[in-house]
């Protein structure tokens, strides 16, 4: 629809303006050679000047600016990369140190533990030995005492009974007969007094 109107309009326009065209009798001014030489001359002059100024003065500057920016960015990237690598290395070093110290402390702990355990064991052993010895000593002493006790008691009993008899009767009585009696009594009652 719009298209139809469009062509109608063009037709109308051309129809009504035919006279105008005829009056001005223009044709194409481009094909009129009157100013061709002038245009060629000025085009050469202006374009030549433009080319020379652009190529000698302005474009090298823009190119240098671009290069400079590029290199600067590249440098910055490289610097950042280097710093990142450095920090990574440092981090690794730090990790290594921590790992090492951890291991060291573990070793130290183990060593100390073992040493202490050993010391304790040694001390305990020696103490146990001492205790054993003391116990043995005491036991032998006790044994000795136990062994010696009946004889002593017998002797005391004999002496006491001879004293008592002397005081009672007033005469000396043979010790051997008294000891025989005591021995006899002792044998009879040994289980009663020293029963285990």
């Amino acid at each position: 629809m719009i298209r139809k109107y469009f062509f109608q309009l063009i037709f109308l326009y051309l129809f009504f303006s035919k006279e105008v065209f005829a009056a001005e009798s223009g044709g194409m001014p481009q094909l009129d050679p009157e100013f061709w030489v002038s245009q060629i001359f000025w085009l050469t002059l202006v374009f030549g000047t433009l080319y020379i100024v652009l190529s000698k003065l302005i474009l090298p500057k823009i190119s240098a600016n671009l290069e400079l920016r590029k290199s600067q960015i590249q440098e910055n990237i490289e610097a950042a990369d280097k710093q990142r690598k450095d920090s990574e290395l440092k981090l690794k070093e730090y990790d290594d140190i921590i790992l090492k110290s951890k291991l060291e402390s573990k070793n130290l702990f183990n060593e100390t533990r073992e040493k202490t355990l050993k010391d304790i064991n040694i001390k305990r052993d020696s103490l146990e030995k001492q205790i054993d010895e003391e116990i043995k000593k005491a036991e032998t002493e006790i044994d000795q005492l136990r062994k010696g006790a009946p004889e002593k008691i017998n002797k005391i009993a004999i002496e006491t009974s001879s004293e008592i008899l002397k005081n009672l009767i007033g005469t000396e009585i043979n010790n051997s007969s008294i000891s025989a009696i005591v021995d006899d009594l002792y044998r009879k009652n040994v289980g009663k007094y020293y029963g285990n």
Binding site: I2, Y5, F6, L9, I10, Y13, F16, S17, V20, F21, E24, G26, G27, M28, P29, Q30, L31, D32, E34, F35, W36, V37, S38, Q39, I40, F41, W42, L43, T44, V46, F47, T49, L50, Y51, V53, L54, S55, L57, I58, L59, K61, I62, S63, A64, N65, L66, L68, R69, Q72
Partner: protein, 244 residues
């Protein structure tokens, strides 16, 4: 009534008539807009190149983006060998672009809408590229007209076609730019004329078209400059890296 849409392309003298021998080299409105475009380019890129900060400001960014844009375009199409011609292609692209863009301002003159201007540029490129080709490859450059892998029977025909297409390069290059600019501006003028002649009642439709066409023409202005530059790169590529 509506003015002739072609009057906008008329060249007229500004100032006195200058003559060298039989040639009239007077300063005209075309010359004025060539100078204005070039000065605009120089101003913008000079400001953009002036100080170098790590974080570029807007104008510096514009200059540097244009630089990398053209640089990438050249290296993509013509390879690294085309580096010495960077400044020329950059100037060419910027000149055509700024002339096209200045033409988009109402009541200005579009330098590139004149066949003689585009033809001089195209002819210069054509001659330059041919000379570069012969310098780089000697008479081996003529191998450009003999594509490899073509049956012997077809070869004479192909060579003739290749030569014709090679010789028509400056014409196609110049006519493409000139015709695009002229057609676009004529069309805009015609639609502008419709707005006036149809008045307040019917003028809105062509006005809408005019607005849309302005956008399209700005796109075309950029695109044609780009095409002009990239075709130059392609021709240069043929001359620098002979593929056949």
């Amino acid at each position: 009534m509506a003015a002739n849409p072609m009057t906008q392309f008329e060249v007229y003298r500004i100032g006195p008539e200058i003559k060298i021998g039989a040639f009239d080299i007077s300063f005209t409105n075309a010359s004025l807009f060539m100078v204005v475009s070039s000065l605009a380019i120089l101003l913008i890129f000079n400001l953009g190149a002036k100080k170098n900060s790590m974080l570029p400001n807007k104008i510096q960014l514009l200059a540097e983006l244009s630089y990398t844009f053209v640089s990438k375009m050249i290296s993509d199409t013509a390879g690294s060998k085309a580096k010495p011609y960077f400044a020329f292609i950059f100037s060419l692209f910027m000149f055509v672009l700024f002339c096209n863009m200045f033409g988009m301002i109402p009541y200005t003159f579009t330098v590139t809408s004149h066949i003689i201007v585009t033809f001089v540029l195209a002819a210069f490129i054509f001659i330059g590229v041919t000379i570069i080709g012969f310098i780089k490859h000697g008479f081996g450059y003529l191998k450009l007209f003999v594509p490899s892998g073509v049956p012997i029977v077809l070869l004479p025909l192909i060579v003739v076609i290749e030569i014709i297409s090679y010789l028509s390069r400056p014409i196609s290059l110049s006519v493409r730019l000139f015709a695009n600019m002229m057609a676009g501006h004529t069309m805009m003028k015609v639609f502008g004329g419709f707005v006036i002649s149809l008045g307040i009642v019917g003028g809105w439709l062509p006005l809408t078209f005019s607005v849309a066409l302005t956008g399209l023409e700005i796109l075309v202005a950029f695109l044609q400059a780009y095409v002009f530059a990239i075709l130059t790169c392609i021709y240069l590529n043929d001359a620098l890296n002979l593929h056949h």
